[in-house]
């Protein structure tokens, strides 16, 4: 019997350990200590190199670093729809040809699918492996604070003068303690909140999208659609599982960290609990509840697992509320193959987070940060590289439709389902230099530039919050928000009652400590920046 028991035990242990693999894997970072430590040394080396470069002849000095005869592979990590696009090899080869005269390096893309991007990117950054550029869409702040990425402030003017000239005005939004840990991609920084609906439904009910100018108009439009098509889901949630997410916060409140913000055009020191503001009550809680009561909202909106594109493409849904920019139409068409019309309502506000969320960073473990920065420079200044990264291979993945106006589209027989390369322009350094897709307005980039320059600049534009001292509270607040945010944002709860409970729990979670901390940091930031 004992023997049997021993065998059983052995078996369960083995099965147990196998099952345990997954959870123990993440502690494996212990092994990285060494490469990370080495990296600091070489990092100091670069600083010295930069000093020398500025003193003597800059050009020849950078050349000696970039053309050192050592052919390195610059690995670039980006999110993408597929991990291995068909034209990957050809695009890399074409880019290699362009960068050869500038430096001894070759590019290698590593596309991570959207669903696993965050997790895999974090693994890459803590693995200590030699990657050159890593894209982030949740800012460089956390990575900079744990020093997972390099401070490239001094490398930029030397190895990326073109990029610095082009993007310098937006660098301020990405600075952390006055230093740069990444560079933002150029895209529409501000977006206007509004509603995006199926063109077919609008045409059928002869609704003029131009006439939808306020949220009251939206309400009337939804009523009309609901009346004509009671079986249709008028509203589907956006990615955060809310039918009304950031509308109010984009228009009037600049978020500092989840739950805390200031009025975009108010006093920067007047830090508020976002969920306790009258705007949240009126423009989110009450409106969502009203719409839900009227039957506009798809069933299970707060938990529905399908993305908005899938819901729209399925054909029984009309619209979603969310951020709108001049490229939204093309983006949705390319992603889901649906023809939508955008109806922006709120004005555009330029926040720190609207610029600094999408950045390219150089990981601490990068062995050749100079070459990585030079590659960045080319990604922001060389139109051929921009077109390759945006659209793939000419003649295969796209063809020129109108050479005069630089308009391109899919070649015969190619569409979003079988194209060998599909990238979103906001992932590509400076998409402005490239072609324009046929479904976009030919002057789309001017529209982007105009939107960026004409949007209301938040009173704390450029300020980045450091949660170090209030991490416990932030963790608790996140949990309270996941409890109430989507339920209220989809209109499943009585506004008066649920918002009161929401605010009460946020206060118990310590939101006032976070507000006080934010005030202190903004005060310091204001003194520093005059």
């Amino acid at each position: 019997m004992k023997k049997k028991l021993a065998m059983m035990l052995g078996m369960t242990l083995i099965i147990g350990t196998l099952a345990g693999c997954g959870s123990t894997g993440d502690t494996g970072t212990a092994a990285d200590t060494e490469p990370a430590a080495e990296q600091t040394d070489s990092g100091q080396g670069t600083d010295a190199g930069v000093d020398a470069a500025t003193e003597s002849d800059a050009a020849s000095e950078t050349d000696s670093v970039l053309k050192d005869g050592n052919m390195v592979t610059l690995k670039v990590v980006c999110p993408g729809g597929t991990a291995s696009p068909g034209s990957k090899g050809e695009v890399e080869a074409a880019i290699n040809e362009i960068i050869a005269p500038y430096m001894d390096a070759q590019i290698e893309f590593e596309f991570l699918e959207w669903g696993v991007f965050q997790e895999q990117k974090n693994l890459i950054l803590s693995s200590g492996e030699d990657y050159s550029l890593v894209f982030t869409f949740d800012s460089s702040r956390n990575y900079a604070m744990s020093h997972q990425v390099l401070d490239i402030t001094d490398l930029l003017p030397v190895y990326a003068p073109g990029l610095t000239e082009e993007m310098g005005t937006y660098f301020d939004a990405c600075k952390i303690g006055g230093r740069l840990y990444g560079v933002p991609t150029f895209h529409e920084y501000a977006s206007r909140h509004g509603i995006t609906g199926m063109t077919s439904v609008l045409n059928e009910l002869s609704i003029d999208p131009e006439s939808i100018q306020s949220w009251e108009d939206v309400d009337a439009m939804l009523a009309k659609v609901h009346e004509a098509h009671p079986e249709m889901n008028c509203l589907v949630p956006v990615d955060t599982n809310m039918i009304l997410s950031g509308a109010w916060s984009n228009a009037s409140i600049s978020k500092i960290i989840d739950g805390v913000g200031v009025y975009a055009e108010g006093d920067p020191l007047d830090v508020v609990n976002i969920y306790a503001t009258p705007e949240y009550m009126e423009e989110v809680a009450k409106r969502a509840y009203d719409w839900n009561q009227k039957g506009y909202v798809i069933a299970d909106a707060s938990t529905i697992p399908e993305a908005r594109q899938e819901l729209l493409a399925a054909g029984n849904s009309f619209a979603f509320c969310g951020g709108i920019h001049p490229g939204t139409k093309t983006q949705e068409a390319k992603n889901a193959g649906v023809d939508v019309t955008t109806m922006p309502i709120d004005r555009a506000v330029l926040n720190t987070s609207s610029v600094d969320f999408a950045q390219y960073m150089v990981p601490t473990a990068c062995s050749t940060p100079e070459k990585a920065v030079k590659l960045l420079d080319l990604m922001y200044t060389d139109p051929d590289i921009v077109n390759l990264i945006s659209y793939g291979i000419e003649g295969k993945d796209y063809e020129i439709k109108d050479a005069e106006r630089n308009i391109i589209g899919y070649p015969e027989g190619v569409d979003s389902s079988n194209v060998g390369w599909n990238n979103e322009t906001w992932l590509v350094g400076n998409g402005e230099l490239g072609y324009v897709w046929e479904t976009d307005d030919p002057d789309i980039w001017e529209q982007y530039r105009e939107l960026n320059e004409n949007s209301v600049k938040s009173c704390i534009f450029g300020f980045t919050f450091d949660p170090q001292n209030v991490k416990t509270q932030v963790t608790a607040i996140q949990n309270v928000i996941s409890k109430y945010g989507a339920t209220i944002g989809c209109g499943y709860a009585d506004p008066e009652e649920s918002v009161a409970k929401f605010v009460e729990e946020l206060e118990a979670a310590g939101i006032n400590d976070v507000i006080a901390e934010a005030k202190t940091q903004i005060q310091a930031w204001m003194e520093e920046n005059g």
Binding site: L5, M8, A30, S126, Q148, Q478
Partner: protein, 304 residues
């Protein structure tokens, strides 16, 4: 002395066979334990783990200094206790029933069928559950509709979820336990049953006086192993299956989901390690305690 040497020599090949497993455990499970120190540090990648600044127990604070601390601890322990009991009872029941089937082919088929859910990923399970529970297209509401009842919004009614989660967990986990108990039952000496048959006892008595007492050691071993994990919760079960529904958080938030929800924005490795350390230390202490109690009650069944 000489005797010992001979013994070692004789068993050398056996020890040699042990080596890969031992190395695997060492590399995969023991060496990374050094990483525990991350939980007590403010991790800075530019200087590495060893040279990062010590912070004492600061990283652990977030698990206790929150109004949710009581709730997440209660949910974690409460659900696990229920899961352990339900899964144990149902698995033993299935094992006994399976052992009574004489057709080998039938046993294999049933065994495979009940083991299959154990192999399915929780994400897929969550969609299976969704097919039952969806508001407008779900099976349960379809049935309610045909019976003329009002549909239930399952994903916003916390009161149903303790039952739903227990059912899902049992559906998924019972097969694994049943297979182990079945193996244990099949190992029982058949002559015992033959002797009992000669004495003329009934089926129920046979199960009660022969089968159950003889699989007790296996049950206790399995129990001790699961007690070590009562502070862990199956993330997929508590996060994916309720579709991360806010309305259900009071009854679905456990230590693991709390840590995930809280740290997804901060991305603080030290704090998440602290949660892991907390869970393993408590689990370790519970195993020691449970084993100590077993030692007192029936010494021969204790693990160590």
């Amino acid at each position: 002395m000489k005797n010992k040497k001979v013994k070692i020599k004789r068993y050398l090949p056996v020890y040699f066979m042990l080596l890969p497993g031992f190395l695997y455990l060492l590399v995969n499970n023991y060496i990374p334990m050094a990483g525990l120190i991350i939980a007590f540090k403010n991790l800075d990648f530019s200087v590495g783990i060893l040279r990062s600044e010590w912070t004492g127990f600061k990283n652990f604070e977030f698990l206790f200094r929150t109004p949710d601390a009581w709730r997440i601890t209660r949910n974690t322990i409460g659900y696990n206790t229920v899961f352990i009991i339900v899964n144990l009872v149902v698995a033993v029941l299935f094992a006994v029933l399976l052992s009574e089937i004489h057709s080998k082919k039938a046993v294999k088929t049933y065994q495979t069928i009940i083991l299959l859910p154990y192999m399915v990923s929780m994400v897929i399970v969550s969609y299976l559950a969704y097919a039952f529970l969806a508001g407008d297209t779900g099976l349960l509401n379809g049935i309610r509709h045909s019976l003329g009842l009002e549909p239930v919004s399952w994903y916003s009614e916390p009161k149903y979820w303790p039952v739903i989660l227990t059912l899902v967990n049992a559906w998924k986990g019972v097969g694994y336990g049943a297979v182990i108990y079945l193996a244990s039952i099949l190992g029982i000496d058949r002559s015992l049953y033959e002797a009992a048959a000669v004495d003329g006892i009934g089926k129920m008595q046979e199960i009660r006086y022969i089968t159950l007492p003889l699989i007790k050691p296996t049950v206790i071993t399995m129990l001790l192993l699961s007690i070590g994990r009562v502070f862990y919760s199956d993330f997929g079960l508590f996060y994916q299956v309720p579709m991360n529904s806010g309305a259900l958080i009071d009854v679905t938030n456990t230590i693991d989901t709390y840590v995930y929800r809280g740290l997804i924005a901060l991305g603080d490795i030290s704090m998440s390690s602290a949660a892991g350390v907390y869970q393993s230390v408590i689990g370790f202490l519970l195993v020691i305690a449970a084993n100590w109690i077993t030692n007192k009650l029936s010494k021969e069944n204790a693990l160590f």
